[in-house]
């Protein structure tokens, strides 16, 4: 009887232990949600230091870009507890702040001495602030990113091509400074035979489903003078979104798509563009800067064969901002631990290591360091690009605004329906309706 009691006691203890252990582990675990891409792998590596220092285990939920917004916005809207920390897209800030998804970080920053002045100003506006240009912070700039270009340096340096190009255009075959130069180079390479293979001018964004073509088109439109609204009167879009210059910019994008992209480029975004470059199809490639470390390491097109340049200028000089800030999810049960992660992540030495591992730090002490520009072959192009960034609407209704633009510009650029003027006039109409629904106009 005594033996039986002991055995029962032992079993009960084992049961209690086995059920308690996972709970203990769970209390010391944080889940960070982000997109599944190269920088996320770098963050996994970086976060091992956090675990070593604090004992808090880091769990990661990475979702492919195609379902990143759907998955995590659903999670936030349903007040889910999956993510303690989230690296959310820059456009989500408005909605996440107004709908209470993110913890406001001002008090925490003040308490811990984290200063937003220590970060690149454009990234603070882009990733942290809502309303824009006000000191209300909902995220810490985590991953600086911007649309830029890579080119086949080895092709550009071929003497016979340099000679031919100079005879034709009267200038050196080099990384373009303006969009007109870029188009000339793209035309020069289009359907050219190089090493027995037909190559093409450039790969640009044309994807319809999520945000691809908008990111590509805006990247070009900004340089022609497109503005989201009247700087003097918010949400007044007539004559700014559809200005004569914006129309010319959109016409240019279509002409670039028509003249100089590889066949089958009607639905290209980050992955497809990088693939076109890696497979040696194109001389130039538009893509976010996060792809650059991976491309530089590529055996076939990386190393000495690849060059990087920031978005060319036209009348003005801008580039489409990408990237994200890191936020604490307000529905998390572990907000304090999550804030500790942000405190750790904001440290200069951690940010320096973040850059070394393949992440793009937004901390001034990292990017303004004397050796930063020479630290990686793409560092200078990244610095130059981050100095000229501009972002899409970050309004709570950004998704509807984005869909409207996807539809209008894809209809014109890829499907060839109507004119650029009609596309942008239609966009003004759509966006006006959205802001009327939101009660903003």
């Amino acid at each position: 009887m005594q033996k039986k009691s002991k055995a029962l006691l032992g079993l009960a203890s084992a049961f209690v232990m086995s059920s308690a252990l996972p709970n203990l582990a769970k209390a010391d675990q944080l889940t960070l949600c982000w997109a599944a891409w190269d920088p996320a792998n770098a963050l996994v590596e970086l976060s091992k230091d956090f675990t070593a220092k604090t004992g808090t285990e880091m769990k990661f939920e990475f979702v492919p870009w195609t379902s990143y917004a759907d998955r995590f916005l659903n999670e936030l809207n349903s007040h889910g507890k999956l993510c303690d920390l989230i690296i959310g897209d820059s456009q989500w800030i408005g909605g996440s702040a107004e709908n209470g998804h993110y913890v406001k970080l001002n008090d925490f920053f003040d308490k811990e001495g984290i200063k937003m002045d220590d970060f690149v100003p454009a990234t603070v506006v882009g990733y942290s602030e809502w309303p824009k240009n006000t000191p209300n912070y909902w995220a810490l700039p985590a991953m600086g990113d911007v649309v830029g270009w890579t080119y086949r340096k080895d092709w550009f340096e071929r003497p016979e091509l340099q000679k031919e190009f100079k005879e034709k255009y009267g200038r050196e075959l080099a990384a373009p400074k303006t969009y007109d130069e870029l188009k000339q180079i793209a035309e020069f390479f289009q359907k050219r035979e190089i090493d027995g293979k037909t190559v093409y001018g450039a790969s640009i964004y044309t994807e319809r489903g999520s945000e691809g073509i908008t990111m590509g088109v805006t990247n070009v439109l900004y340089d022609w003078g497109f503005q989201y609204d009247n700087p003097e009167k918010p949400y007044e879009m007539q004559g700014f979104v559809n200005s004569a210059d914006a129309v010319k910019g959109l016409e240019f994008y279509k002409s670039l798509y028509d003249c100089c992209t590889p066949p089958g480029s009607s639905n290209v975004y980050m992955v497809e563009s990088a693939d076109a470059f890696k497979s040696g199809q194109v001389a130039m490639q538009m893509n976010f800067a996060f792809t650059w470390p991976g491309l530089y390491k590529d055996e076939k097109v990386g190393g000495d064969r690849i060059g990087f340049f920031p978005n060319p200028a036209e009348k003005k000089h801008f580039a489409q901002l990408g990237g994200q800030g890191i936020s604490v999810v307000s529905y998390s049960d572990k907000k304090d631990a999550a804030l500790q992660y942000i405190k750790w992540f904001a440290q200069p030495e951690v940010q320096a290591k973040w850059w070394q591992l393949g992440g793009y730090s937004c901390l001034k002490s990292v990017v303004n360091a004397p050796d930063f520009a020479s630290s990686q072959p793409y560092a200078q192009a990244f610095l130059d690009s981050m100095a000229i960034v501009k972002d899409f609407w970050a309004e709570p209704s950004y998704a509807t605004l984005l869909q409207d633009m996807q539809k209008r510009v894809h209809n014109y650029v890829v499907a060839g329906n109507g004119t650029a003027q009609e596309a942008l006039d239609g966009l003004v109409k759509d966006w006006t309706e959205v802001f009327e629904d939101d009660g903003k106009i």
Binding site: N74, G209, P263, G264, N267, A415
Partner: protein
């Protein structure tokens, strides 16, 4: 209720009672047949109400409001028929409906004609017909995600087998065969894939129809010296017609909801050329978060499908009764 079925119910009730505590047993023994029937049916009805009926009623309610799922704290206002008015006056929605109707018409036509022809051939029971049947069924067994990605590569102008084959036959350069990027070709690219994938399904149903026709009818026709053509039009087609119509009904409802294939192949593009109603609905509901308006659109779609299916089922019943 006859005696045998009554005793079976009693036996089942006894068996259930034996496995339960005494008080429950007493209560069960006292239940009428009707009450026992309700005990068995109730879980299903509750589940049905929770999963199908309640969301439907909730969606109808939301369709009269300005509710947005991403702003749960915002005040929910009754907008009357405003959402319906907006949906029915939205040219984009009408275009999506037209695109959907185009897909449904052509996919059903092609799948029915090819599916029936294949069933007719397979029904001949030639040597190796079982092998060919299995081979034909393979596309239907694949996941739409696999099929979508697979065909996206096939359609690739530079490396795709489809472009290569068309180029070989027509002499058109492969670079010019842009199935997914051309406004005129993209809808057909999707129709081809859907037909490739779902024709076997129609074939199976038609085959069941053909095999249900008794041999003696053909034997009688032979005696009457009816030609093969006459037998086909006077026996095969009329007797297989209810099955064909059933296949058309299933495929029609399925294709009205077409989503995955279009998303994978074109994402609704080029422009909005292949944006079917389900994609427009998904964008309104889960990207724009215009929940009220999306609910109104969903109700409009539901009424359209339900109404058409109802008319069709009545026609099907008439054919069956002939």
């Amino acid at each position: 209720m006859n005696i045998s079925s009554s005793s079976m119910v009693e036996k089942a009730a006894d068996a259930t009672a034996r496995a339960m505590p005494t008080s429950v047993v007493r209560r069960l023994r006292g239940l009428s047949d009707r009450a026992i029937a309700w005990v068995f049916i109730a879980p299903t009805i509750i589940l049905l109400l929770a999963i199908n009926i309640f969301p439907l009623i909730w969606a109808i309610y939301l369709s009269f409001t300005n509710y947005r799922a991403n702003r749960p704290n915002a005040p929910v206002l009754n907008v009357g028929l405003g959402n319906y008015e907006r949906v029915l006056n939205d040219p984009d929605i009408w275009q999506a409906m037209q695109t959907t109707a185009h897909f449904v018409f052509w996919t059903i036509l092609l799948q029915t004609v090819i599916g029936f022809a294949l069933a007719y051939l397979i029904d001949r029971k030639f040597r190796g017909h079982a092998f060919w049947t299995t081979l034909i069924l393979i596309p239907m067994m694949l996941s739409p995600a696999v099929v979508g990605n697979f065909w996206r590569f096939l359609y690739e102008p530079q490396i795709g087998l489809f472009a290569y084959a068309v180029s070989l036959v027509t002499g058109i350069p492969t670079a010019d065969i842009q199935m997914l990027g051309s406004v005129s070709l993209a809808p057909w690219a999707i129709i081809i894939v859907d037909t490739w994938m779902w024709t076997p399904y129609v074939m199976l149903i038609c085959l069941a129809g053909l095999r249900s026709i008794p041999d003696y009818i053909y034997e009688a026709a032979e005696v009457d010296r009816a030609s093969a053509w006459r037998q086909f039009w006077s026996i095969t087609v009329p007797m297989a017609l209810p099955f064909i119509m059933l296949a058309v009904l299933f495929r029609g409802i399925e294709n009205f909801k077409m989503f995955d294939m279009v998303t994978l192949l074109t994402g609704g593009g080029p422009g909005s050329t292949t944006e079917v109603a389900s994609i427009t609905l998904k964008r309104a509901a889960f990207e724009s978060w215009a929940t009220g308006r999306a609910s109104a659109f969903a109700i409009v779609l539901f009424v359209a499908v339900f109404g058409l299916a109802n008319i069709y089922v009545k026609a099907l019943n008439k054919v069956k009764q002939r």
